[in-house]
Point group: C2
Chain length 558, copies 2
């Protein structure tokens, strides 16, 4: 068995308990400074930061299962490797892992080198009654990769990381399921192409994970969800290979690809897919506009998408969000709209001018731009939007630091129709503020929109709270933080559900959203999906407890 894996990368070491790589984590003065900031902002005492437990000191039970000889070389029983695969990146998972508390540890981590290896692993799991949790980057923030209670392998696809074929005429690339964002862009870049799918987890999450969870891209409008970029998918199922035909469009029955999109590892393991790629954009226009109220900004965003404009960036930040992201001063009171258009070649001035005109019609005041840029870009953008993008990728590290300082940090995302958007934002902001203040003695709630549609919008909330008003005697600190998280998570999720909005727009269901998902999806659909799972996977080895069937205890977190 191997004891290696992504933990041993020399230049940047993956955190075993938290987000990303350890060299990006806030430490020393930066961490202390954040503590001081929280103390000042909330007028509370903030404890000294906790250092993560050394994983080699954690007692990890011996594996309950052993693979047959042919698979032995693919399997790792290294305790730290297994600990890292015992949780995803949900707040309650990382805050407990930080304290060495990982309630579910997979018996083995298995790293297939080929699709045929995946099929062999599934065969063994089905025969031996071993659960199989497909693992991409382990970045699920909703408990989507947490092991179930039974004997279990974590199927880590990190060896399947290649761009295997390119059709430059059609703009298609065949990409393996375990390829991360940077691996994909690096390989496509050699051909002058880009996928331009940038979820916040982009540096670590994988193509297969994006498809399995219907990841939302970084673009605010137009084809941005991974759903829109998929031209064909191949998955290994316990009933054999599922491979769709590579096509620009088809009307032949329900789309097989749409069955796998969002299946969260319950129907099969996505080994490769044909994706729609494009030339690197060489034409760009950026601007930022401020509004007196969030509602005025929402009205402007609605107007411009309704008239057919499709800006790549169209993010509305409330004053708290703008300040958090460094795109506005701390005492700002305005809502900020970040606008960006991009295209391979065509001139975008007219589109940007119209967007600015519509924003002005709704009370907007231009604070920056429009700035026209032509030629290749590295992907970095400048001005307010550049500051925002940098903060965007760093946010999960900030969250980890807050966890170490005994606080709470969580994000909520949803989508609703325009008729209910303003009211939903107000309700969620109020609910999050009220409950987090009750539980933690103070709360910072920042709101932005991530995606805009002709018929609605996706609001996104960040909740930061300093500590626990009443941690209770004898409750370990990590568990107390997780319990506080649970109260806030439940209250906001109930409000989302009561408003008829979706329990998730792009974070997926996992174990954490399952309660509300069960109310949201049509009951006959759930029965049909359950029957489909049983047909393909009669031993029910694939991600038990996810989407349908008996709910487990949410990854041992209750």
């Amino acid at each position: 068995m191997r004891g290696s894996g992504p933990l041993s990368s020399p230049s940047s070491t993956r955190s075993w308990w938290g987000w990303g790589t350890t060299d990006q984590a806030l430490e020393g003065d930066a961490l202390a400074g954040l503590g001081a900031l929280l103390a000042e902002r909330f007028d509370v005492e903030v404890a000294a930061p906790v250092d993560p437990v050394d994983p080699s000191t954690i007692d990890v039970p011996a594996p309950r299962v052993s693979p047959p000889g042919a698979l032995r070389d693919l399997a790792s029983d290294d305790p730290v490797d297994r600990l890292r695969h015992g949780h995803g990146a949900a707040f309650r998972e990382i805050v407990r892992a930080l304290h060495g508390d990982v309630p579910r540890i997979p018996d083995l981590v298995v790293r297939p080198g080929t699709a045929a290896d995946v099929a062999r692993v599934l065969d063994w799991c089905a025969d031996a009654g071993v659960a199989c949790v497909p693992w991409g980057g382990g970045t699920s923030v909703v408990g989507g990769v947490t092991p179930p209670p039974q004997p279990c392998v974590s199927l880590d696809l990190d060896q399947l990381d290649r761009v295997r074929e390119i059709d430059a005429v059609s703009g298609h690339a065949l990409i393996e399921g375990g390829a991360t964002g940077p691996a994909i862009e690096r390989q496509l870049g050699d051909h002058g192409l880009t996928l331009r799918h940038f979820p916040q987890s982009w540096e670590f999450s994988t193509l297969g994970g994006w498809i399995a969870t219907r990841a939302g891209g970084h673009f605010a409008t137009g084809p941005t969800h991974i759903d829109d970029l998929v031209a064909a998918v191949t998955a290994e199922t316990p009933a054999g290979r599922w491979a769709s035909r590579r096509l620009p469009a088809s009307g032949a029955g329900p789309s097989p690809d749409r069955w796998l999109l969002g299946s969260e590892g319950t129907l099969g393991v996505i080994t490769e897919a044909w994706l729609r790629v494009q030339p690197r954009p060489r034409s760009r226009v950026q601007a930022s506009v401020r509004f007196a109220t969030f509602d005025a900004g929402l009205a402007a965003v609605r107007a411009l998408v309704r008239d057919g404009l499709r800006p790549a960036n169209c993010r509305l930040l409330d004053p708290v969000e703008a300040a958090l992201a460094g795109a506005a001063p701390q005492d700002a009171t305005s809502t900020l709209l970040l606008l960006g258009f991009e295209a391979p070649e065509r001139d975008l001035t007219a589109e940007a001018d119209l967007a600015i005109k519509l924003a002005r019609d709704h009370g907007g005041e231009v604070v920056d731009g429009p700035t026209v840029r032509r030629g290749d870009a590295t992907g970095a953008s400048e001005g307010d939007a550049g500051a925002w993008r940098q903060a965007f990728l760093q946010a999960p590290y900030l969250r980890d630091a807050i966890a170490r300082l005994g606080g709470l940090a969580e994000t909520f995302e949803t989508a609703t129709t325009w008729d209910r958007a303003g009211e939903l934002v107000a309700t969620l902001r109020d609910t999050a503020t009220r409950v987090a203040t009750e539980v933690c003695g103070g709360a910072l709630v920042a709101v932005r929109t991530t995606h805009a549609y002709p018929d609605g919008v996706a609001p996104y909330l960040t909740v930061i709270a300093p500590g626990l008003r009443d941690a209770g005697q004898g409750v370990p600190r990590g568990r107390a933080q997780a319990a506080a998280w649970d109260e806030v998570k439940t209250a906001v999720s109930e409000a989302i559900d009561a408003a008829g909005a979706t329990i998730t727009h792009h974070h997926a269901v996992g174990r954490d959203h399952r309660r509300w998902y069960d109310r949201q999806r049509p009951e006959p659909f759930a029965r049909a999906l359950e029957a489909a799972r049983t047909e393909l996977d009669p031993a029910r080895i694939l991600n038990p407890g996810i989407l349908t069937g008996p709910r487990s205890d949410e990854g041992g977190m209750t």
Copy 2:
């Protein structure tokens, strides 16, 4: 029981055997003129036109089933009503019906007035083991509404034809499943809104049918498929009501709506759906451009969609198609590109100019426009595009007339990636010409593209042939025409499949495409869909023989 239904409309009578309404059918001089044209074009003798059999003279067997009292008022056993529901609008169906040959006649036509009625009908069917074929407009050209051999009701949703609710802020309308294109546009028009989904069958087909078959809209690019316009769907299944939440987007598991889209009546009966509607367009630009070759035109279309342009109209017509449609003289040798941009308000000049520039870069020569129009339009357009649109809606009537003249008329549609587009078009044109000439002694094959994507295109072929080279002794004329159709259909479909293209881009699978569909869809997907059907519909009453499960004899047509 009622003997009424849509047959009794005073102003325009629906044809019982062929397309649309009898007042639009070619008769008298027009029909004779078409015969003379075919004779001249193919240098053959064309027989005198057949008059359709009077349906009241056809021997229709008594119904094998009788509904319970509560459903009796919804059911019609009128023989002509039943005959009309015994076939869709596939060529082989209408050419045989014309001669009074309808091999499958539903025992009853049932017209529910509410979704609750639909549920009651399904309950009865499940209890009594009666098959149920959901019927929208009966416009399927692929045998999608042909009854199976067993006792069967045709569930005609024509009473569910209302726009029930409008959310003008989000641009959503709640529309019943049986509403036709004109009924929808008339009701939305009262609110200044439009769905702008115009399949060729638009006058007669219904919302539920569009969703069940993944209908392709009339727009060439952008959100045009009904898939893109659906915000929520409600269906009645034998296992209860399936209703999704109305949302602009969601990442909560696989999309339930995408399971119903393309389900062809096998999972449930679509009773209503929330659709994305929009203000009537007030800004338009049109142009037409000619190219020396079809391949040059394809390259131009590719260039403009790849650069992010999304023209509403972007149809490439080969010389035969252009002449057929009246958009070019009979002796034209150029390929014609019809371009049209539209938007609610915004100025489209820059987009149209760029499209023309890109067309010129690929050897195009502007023959008309760009013509800018502002303000309300009736939907009719002018110039070459207007002539084309009129011919588009009339084409099925031309097909019926050719059937009466003993000839053959069929259309083929598919989609493929750009790398294979030119070769696929050439192969299909050659195959259709060769086989139709062998079978019929001559053939006119016209090619156009219906939809363009950044990664591919949807070619569409119209095949017209004069008669049968060798009808065979004693073979009834309608059956001989159907057999000829079968030879051409099989040869072209085999060529589509061999090229890795889709067996259908927007005509659906039905009974006629099932053979090739079975090769195209992933095998585990077919098993999963079959399991889902059995779970929801254990008595397997919904559209037996469609999509999965044992194939029947293709509607008694073999």
